[in-house]
Symmetry: C2
Subunit: 225 residues, 2 copies
Amino acid sequence: MPAKPSGAPQRRSRNTGAATASGGPPLSLERIIATAVELLDTQGVDGLSMRRLADRLGAGAMSLYWHVGNKEEVFDLALDAVLAYHPPEAEAHGWRANVVHMLEDWRAAMLRHPWSAALLPRRALGPSMLGRLELLSQTLSRAGVADADLNVAIWSVWNYVMGATITRGSFDRSPDDLAAAQRRLTELGERYPSIDRSRLLLDSDWDGAFKKGLDLLLDGLTPKR
Amino acid sequence: MPAKPSGAPQRRSRNTGAATASGGPPLSLERIIATAVELLDTQGVDGLSMRRLADRLGAGAMSLYWHVGNKEEVFDLALDAVLAYHPPEAEAHGWRANVVHMLEDWRAAMLRHPWSAALLPRRALGPSMLGRLELLSQTLSRAGVADADLNVAIWSVWNYVMGATITRGSFDRSPDDLAAAQRRLTELGERYPSIDRSRLLLDSDWDGAFKKGLDLLLDGLTPKR
DNA sequence: CGTCTGACTCGTACAGTGTACGAGTGTTTG
DNA sequence: CAAACACTCGTACACTGTACGAGTCAGACG
């Protein structure tokens, strides 16, 4: 029996210097995840296959499975890596600025890595997301939101950002798709006149709308001062 | 040359009565999509393969490709089928009730078909979604939202529902997963004290929180009366 | 009647996928 | 030295989406 208990994969990565067959740097969980993120950024969700990932690492496909239980875990870890939050060290701008910073950082991270929006609904909450939730929870609580309203407040803000990011992410497609959308929209002008008139899908100031809506929400959720 | 121009797949479905090899009812786009939804409901996103779908229809796998361009299109059509909105015929409850009804119906549909949340971020807006957007746009506009604020209002509400549904969807997992989550959460109580204290992930009254948050948003977005 | 055209079905084949299995390597420990 | 460990990886298998082309049948046209 070699090792590899499937119940709790170990991923110790002591990495005592053994290089891969092609002489590249040794495999490690960090390197695997970093390369996975790279691959996802350049090729999208469907572009990530275990073989391609291994190739980029100069390793055999099955070598990955020593460090990782299965492909899903690669997705989980890549997602979590990309969503990690490092709050700014010097801050005294008040609770609201902190919350807004964290949420905008979240949104920015997901837009920087568009595949994350497609992955998020499938995966459970990883440490990064839990950390953000915890921060949100603490900050709102400290801002004076009553315990009875806290959960509503947290989820409202959370959901808003989640939805805004996912919606937004589904709109920056390739120029081809964009041209097609333009064509289709004018053709559909009669069927969807109000959407057409407001140029909802075309001219929307996403970032501005995001910020405005968030402000409104926070105004409504926290005790007025 | 048989036919089948790949540029614009035809899917006419004249269906002159030719039955499938196994004697079942003939293939048609409607039957394919309905069965696809069935399969997605019972087996999830990964459970839908062209071969399985064809088997359920009593047809050969490649027969599907006469009616459908590729697998992605099956996803698109299934998603759109599930998200179609049929507003109640008799309504005079005012604009707000109409908006709320449509949004709750949307949320209910997505929770009834959990795979839809995973699919939505990947696909463009289909007719059903556009129809809902159009309705939302018209209703808010008629309710007195100024043109300048209209897009912000639409997207805020939209994003809220989207996020709420996706978040919520990622929490009703199998009993196994739920037990595991419970175990993990108490273990993580020290790392995420505020989440733990508020029992944010466990006891949350999702439906109540959804409605409250939505009310708050609508209050903030529409002219006060 | 024969032939033709188009609608539709489907068997085969191919390249690609995730990963189970087990043999291999080199290092550390007893 | 031997045994245990940490790790790598080639082969194999079941399964995927779908390109290709042959096959079936209904109705139209001569």
